[in-house]
Assembly symmetry: D2
Homo-oligomer: 348 residues x 4
């Protein structure tokens, strides 16, 4: 089969490799019909994720068709159309049983294994371990172009932003960073009745998209952004500030935006320590949350996409064939230049 | 001043009475600009509420203007436009402090006192005790015709139906009974992300209104209704069944509609005991909730009405002048004949 | 192997049957070291549970040793000491994934299958399907005599009584019915900080046991019990009333004991419909919960037993050898005469 | 009357001042029977709290007797024995109504006003504004020596540590810092069923006290403390890490102790920014909480103290007369030398 293989920092190739196959009795092999690229894939290519080694097939998001099942698999059959989410779960460890498979003990303490600890989804075929507890059957009413964003971006914005941030009816929410994941948060604040959602970014294209995704207001990132938002919110700030960038400054901005009693929900992947003004924050009764997505919200999100209440397909701005995946990487790596959010990569 | 006075079962008159005035230092007198009639007012007139005695001014919902304040009132001033909600709260007893003023101990164990234990709002003036903790200031962006339904109907549908029923994103909700309060629930299921809201009623006019209020489906009440709804919900039933009628059969219908693990939220005011099939229900892990509204959700609902997300004004189908309140009662008492939901009664 | 086999209403025998063996790749065979008898087993023998047919091995509680594992089992090995709980879970259906395996879809809509839909634990060996997601490894610090009550009685009292009833620090809790399951609730109210736990029963032996299990007060069941408890609780009643009997009168007693805003947690298995005074209850903002145990609290309860905070062993009042199981049934069926709560049945 | 008056950094005197008196109709004057000293009082004396100016009477904790009431006060009478908590609440602003009076808007955005924005409790008399919503009546079963610690230390440890940290049955909790507030957390982890409570401090006296207060383990602060605690907790860490010191290192220690999915509850008052290892923390699904006490848990804590489940009196190690308050300050300021936790100061 053909697959996108990582060969060390800066090096990847679309090459012929042995077919993915059943290795354990709980495995399934899925033919990849649609995949996409995540910001994390770019981090890997920059050499930032030490656990990813030469020869690893990249990618952790797919929609596909089951082509082979292991002896112990009972919930899926050959021919089933499925979502392969970013998180794999054993279903039996203490973390899986409490609904936090992001820290699945069986898989080495982390539920993200595709394109990381095992071969990934940017290939013609992918082996899915623990298939019964990890895969999701897709209803006909949800298209591949919608479903692919439920593998990672949308649940990340929703779980790590909206759910962890405890958005509630009547709330005002600020989303600092309107990239794909931040927009995933913007798209889903209405599920918990947000009255007002303010998108903050330095990129005009993204702010325009945010309005289409349901933001009620946009604010250009910069020195005056905090004051502008405080002025919009009785001077006290927002109920929930979602950070979706991953820099010290953006986290401090989120912290400065939140009102007493509010929540700062950090989605961003940080590369360095962050100095927080705890001497000012300790008295404000705020909560700071953070974490890797669990993807346990997929059934809810599938229902909402199927009901037409979440237009997930808007996340995809560019479409490529699987054979053109290198070009897709190029567009995604220079998203601002191409007015791109997420790319949709379809097998022929 | 003129007021609508109860004179025993079946008797009421729009008559001249002494002006409402400050009696305690925490009181405010409000000039009533808009009021409405509640189903409970009809129950009182039928003689069903023993605590209401001859001479009592009826009504427990108003929008108005502060015209006089007691010495201890600090939160409101003469001229303020306010909402007078159905529930008064002392703010200091254990029930008020835990957010359940429906059972305020200071007021005799119940927060509903207007038109019940003290004179009510269907008058030119009304005395409001515990004004600082009970009144809500109204923003200009919310009209009288919207705000009046936040005094009782809408918070009742929302708190006793949607909140108590724990509606959550992706849920399917059935609302049994599409009168004003049932429609209040229909209007607000989206605040908690319901994917599907099914209205059940025997009245076609009400089912049409339900669709305008946000229901996704309607089902005609009758022998086949339960099977029809189970067929719409994978055979297991809805996540939340809201009862908004108050009869044994309708509560049993709601109980039959709910899936294992779901919630039956009873809003209906019951006049007789109800036999429940506990021999079938005990194993189903269901929860049955019930109660009087607390009106503590008014700030949230005001925000959502002001933001345009809840069209509260749709509850009002007929408008009258305050002097025509007897005619308004006549229309409301025969709501089905007049295709009426709630009446809006405006002072001149 | 020897097993206790049901042969229709009123008939059971301790007889030789074929050995339990692996049937599916996710199965485990457990040698039963300790088992017990549940009130449900008596109901089955009375012919009350139609799904249990002639030839079924009874019992749904065991502590034992793994003697054989299926090919797909990865979490347990031969020789492991395990708890076989009353509820089996597939771990992959929607109900299992939301932590409610009592309604596991894969197992036919119910997680209780041992001694019901498949052969049970009152035998020398038992086949355990879905072993990886259903069994619990036992630490050395928890004895068989403690662990056996974590299979059903204790989690039932805790989950369906204390958890569903939402006991919280400072609460006063009434437990109506101080049998094994009611005492399981009494034993665990302290996990959520109850200030006062009142046991209600007509049996003096049980009330004495209740005091040993942590009750602060006891009240003899009877005409004056409600008034007595209201007098102990400022006239308003208890925060949580747990019903652990299963009769209409006892559920109505629990309903009469709960204060406005409180919870009635029904544990009792009801055989007939129950008439509830909804005309009095609707206004009281109370919640009524009910359900089958999920046994998902076992990890928590194991931790608390191991830490010495829950003396689970107190549930066992009589001990028998497995070959004497018929005598154990006789004692348990006439528990009051023998001052018995639960029997411990140990294999030789 | 006599009172302890602040006269700028480092200066205080026990001097004659005008009697406290009713200023607003909602005020009460309380004769102080028992007071104590808080670490915050020492911070004020160091000049760290700019809002406290020359002439201010210090102190924000008292048990006393009502000696005069304003015209609008209805909940308290002359002669009532009351607790004056650290937090005053108007009861009507949005923060008070949502149970977060620490940020009461009416009082200038902060509920802590005694000995800060108005005269405090280290005096013979104290004026209490918003008395109806702020004071708590004391039952006879709770002594002054118990009640005084419910004014601040105990609710702070409980609310900002145990409640914010979401301690749950079966949890392992680490409390970093076993001073009065940390010990308040230790005393109350059992209210939520903690299985294990580990106290961490560099002071042996405090660690011994911690064991008396209910800690199951103690660990000496220092370079090896983190590894020692990880070794006690399967290598993953504790469920809840409570920080009760207020230094960057101690907060980082708490962060290093918490397992994936756990909570770091910061109680400490920080004087400088804190650098947190967000590059390691972002992926761990942890929550960091912080805040000023609300004292809304006082009714719960009073019930638990009255029931004998919380021995609050253990917080007081030294007793003084009110006239000897300067000596009490001296002992408290050098607590380690005197083996002191909190001082009890009784009026004659």
């Amino acid at each position: 089969m053909k697959a996108l293989v990582y060969h060390g920092p800066g090096k990847k190739s679309w090459e012929e490799v042995p077919d993915a196959r059943i290795e354990e009795s709980g495995d399934v092999v899925v033919k990849v019909d649609t995949t996409t690229i995540c910001g994390t894939d770019l981090h890997i290519l920059h050499g930032d994720v030490a656990a990813v080694t030469d020869g690893r097939i990249l990618g952790h998001e797919a929609v596909g068709t089951v082509v082979e099942i292991g002896d112990a698999v009972s919930g899926f059959s050959v021919g089933d159309r499925v979502l392969v989410p970013a998180i794999t779960k054993c279903g039996r460890c203490s973390y899986c049983q409490m609904g936090m498979p992001s820290h699945c003990r069986t898989l080495g303490g982390i539920g993200w294994i595709f394109g990381h600890l095992i071969d990934g989804t940017q290939a013609e075929l992918v082996r899915v371990p623990f298939a019964d507890t990890s895969l999701y059957a897709l209803p006909d009413s949800v298209s591949n172009e919608q479903a692919i964003f439920l593998a990672d971006s949308l649940p990340t914005g929703y779980e790590v932003g909206v759910l962890a941030g405890r958005v509630r009816p009547g709330h005002t929410v600020a989303v600092v960073g309107a990239g794909a994941v931040g927009l995933g948060a913007v798209l889903t604040t209405s599920l918990w009745g947000a009255a007002r959602t303010i998108a903050v970014d330095s990129n005009k294209f993204r702010l325009e998209r945010a309005l289409e995704f349901g933001a009620t207001d946009t604010v250009e990132a910069g020195p005056g952004a905090i004051d502008e938002i405080l002025a919009m919110t009785d001077g006290l700030g927002v109920d929930v500030a979602i950070e979706a960038v991953g820099y010290p400054e953006t986290l401090r901005t989120a912290a400065a935006l939140v009102r007493p009693g509010g929540t700062i929900a950090n989605i961003g992947v940080h590369g360095v320590p962050v100095e927080l003004p705890m001497h000012e924050m300790w008295i404000r009764n705020v909560t700071l949350t953070m974490g890797l997505v669990d993807t346990v919200s997929i059934p809810t999100l599938l229902t909402m996409v199927a009901s037409g209440r979440i237009p997930a397909e808007k996340m995809g701005t560019h479409t490529f064939g699987l054979d053109d995946i290198l070009e897709a990487y190029d567009v995604f790596a220079h998203a601002a230049d191409h007015l791109a959010l997420k790319v949709v990569i379809n097998a022929g």
